[in-house]
């Protein structure tokens, strides 16, 4: 994790196979330049909000966060709650990307302020296509909110 190089995409994914497939799909479409991977909810929050050793919220937030829901330690919905509940991180686009097509997860995610909700297809071709579309849209088409002056943590 680097604090100095801007990160384009934060992938929060605990399943190493899904991670590898996502990276393959992104690379195939040349969309995987600056990706950071968090393997559970706690890692994701530490990356964004800083830890005791590296304090302070990330200065250059990622253009998009791809967030799985079923995560060890801190679940995806809790990560979402904290990101969207904090004025400094509220504007970072979060795409929930999960295996769950459960209605309750959909409702909860949108209630918490998710910007998009995508069910991971089982079919790898479809999966690749979804990752490509997401990558193109959020990394190339979408314009993110400019960093607010108070976007950094006052220590």
């Amino acid at each position: 994790m680097s604090l100095f190089k801007p990160v384009e995409l934060l992938l929060v994914e605990d399943n190493p196979f899904d991670e590898e497939l996502a990276l393959k799909a992104l690379r195939k479409h040349h969309l995987a330049n600056d990706i950071v991977i968090a393997r559970d909810g706690a890692e994701a929050l530490d990356f964004i909000f800083g830890t005791e050793s590296v304090s302070g919220v990330l200065e250059d937030p990622p253009r998009v966060i791809l967030l799985d829901l079923n995560l060890p330690k801190i679940g995806g919905l809790e990560v979402l709650r904290q990101l969207k509940g904090d004025a400094r991180t509220r504007t970072i686009p979060v795409v929930v990307m999960t295996s769950s097509a459960e209605e309750s997860d959909l409702i909860d995610s949108y209630q918490l302020g998710a910007n998009s909700y995508v069910v991971k297809p089982v079919d790898f071709e479809e999966y690749t296509e979804v990752v490509r579309v997401l990558g193109r849209y959020w990394l190339l088409c979408n314009k993110t909110a400019p960093s607010a002056p108070d976007n950094t943590l006052q220590v």
Binding site: L21, K24, N70, S99, S100, A101, P121, V122
Partner: protein, 442 residues
């Protein structure tokens, strides 16, 4: 004078008091002297006596009749009746009480009432009666002793319900206790309570099972799909990245891996859909059936592309049902009709309705496709049961199980008939009631 006095005495001796005839002979009473006056006075007195006698006689008879009626009531009463005096000694026991306690009335006569009550309740019961004696002022006062435990001659105990009243003012005061054996009622109540408890437990168990099922489906939805994606993904990557170097057999294996992973993914999705149908709360409203069928046909457009298909939509009355769920019924049935007609030159699909005898609308989807063997008709609507090989017609065997579950949840029925090679007709209703089953389609 002496002869007339003797005649008076003689008349008195010969009078028949039993018949009230105490009159002195008229020839004596008719004379004007003192003896005559005495005889007349005597006759007047006997008249009064006779009247009083007659009155008493009829009163006694009336009283006897009343007592007989009362005795009849007491004897024929279904409830046990026991009368006790203030010393709580038994004065009267009716046959119902004899039967109830297993004693003869003679055996109880004069015994203490305690003989009929288990020893451990003696004190309490004495208290009840004494309390009643103190408070019950009038003859009609009726006290409820409620449920008490009684004791039969053989020592067995049984529950009774008792009420008490007191009688007698100037004479000795008596308490009458009316008893009802409530063994049966208590047993029935206990059984009802046990059943209620059992039912409550089952409801709780069911709720728990539903919660577990929800957790299970959630977990299936999350956890089973990820490995499948990995299986499909990596076998695809192997093919993509190394396909040109590997031998054709290996490539075929990899394709089979990926196909089976996808098939299992489809199975999981269908299963989740089925479990959702069971859990979901019905949100019923009036639905325009024709409109809904046309929406389904529009959604199935891609399945119809490049095929020769004749679809007729007949008269379809609206129904009150959960629109989303019934949509799934039509999608499945029409989708099946499209699928199983892929091998006929011109597919003919007829969607219509019939009116059953009791005004129940029966909807149907008829096709001229592959059909099925009626011998296996009962398997059609069971989960994972298929009547065709996947190579012939793809499918997971969940669609019709889902249809059956949706229809059942609406109180309706689904059934089918077919002649192999000549097509099939699937019928369903969406409300409760007996339905007439149409004859085999010709």
């Amino acid at each position: 004078m002496g002869g007339r006095l003797a005649g008076l005495v003689d008349g008195l001796e010969n009078a028949d008091p039993a018949n009230g005839d105490l009159h002195v002979a008229q020839h004596i009473a008719g004379s004007a002297d003192e003896i005559g006056a005495l005889a007349r006075a005597f006759n007047a007195m006997t008249d009064r006596l006779h009247a009083s006698y007659c009155k008493m006689k009829s009163e006694i008879a009336e009283r006897q009749r009343a007592e007989e009626r009362l005795a009849g009531v007491i004897i024929s009463a279904m409830d046990g009746i026991i009368t006790v005096n203030t010393r709580r000694e038994i004065v009267l026991v009716n046959p119902a009480a004899e039967r109830m306690f297993g004693y003869r009335a003679d055996d109880l006569q004069g015994k203490a009432l305690d003989i009929l009550i288990p020893e451990r309740f003696h004190a309490v019961h004495t208290g009840h009666v004494e309390n009643f004696g103190r408070t019950g002022v009038t003859n009609r006062a009726m006290g409820h002793l409620g449920r008490i435990v009684a004791c039969r001659a053989d020592g067995s105990e049984f529950p009774i319900e008792a009420s008490i009243s007191q009688m007698g003012g100037s004479e000795e005061r008596l308490y009458t206790v009316i008893l009802r054996d409530i063994t049966l009622r208590v047993a029935v109540e206990a059984e009802a309570k046990a059943l209620t408890t059992a039912l409550q437990r089952r409801v709780e168990e069911r709720d728990h099972a539903i919660q577990e099922l929800e957790a299970f489906s959630y977990s299936v939805s999350h956890d089973l799909r990820a490995p499948l994606r990995a299986i499909d993904g990596f076998s695809r990557l192997a093919l993509e990245e190394h396909g040109d170097q590997s031998d054709p057999e290996l490539q075929r294996y990899l394709r089979m891996c990926s196909e089976n992973a996808k098939r299992m993914g489809q199975l999981i999705d269908d299963l989740l859909g089925l479990s959702k149908v069971g859990r979901q709360v019905l949100k019923s409203r009036v639905v325009d059936a024709v409109k809904q069928v046309h929406e389904c046909l529009a959604q199935l457009e891609s399945e119809r592309e490049g095929r020769q298909i004749e679809i007729t939509v007949g008269d379809l009355p609206s129904y009150e049902a959960d629109p989303g769920l019934v949509q799934q019924v039509w999608m499945n049935l029409i989708g099946n009709a499209l699928k199983y007609t892929t091998k006929v030159a011109t597919a003919q699909i007829e969607i219509g309705s019939l009116l059953a005898q009791n005004d129940t609308v029966v909807y149907y989807v008829r096709d001229n496709g592959a059909g099925f063997d009626m011998r296996y008709a009962d398997k059609l609507f069971q989960m994972f049961q298929r009547l065709h090989r996947a190579a012939e017609f793809p499918g997971t065997g969940v669609g019709l199980a889902t249809v059956a579950r949706i229809v059942r949840r609406h109180g309706g029925r689904v059934w089918a008939e077919s002649t192999p090679g000549a097509g099939a007709t699937f019928y369903f209703t969406l409300r409760e009631g007996e339905i007439y089953v149409p004859l085999q389609a010709s």
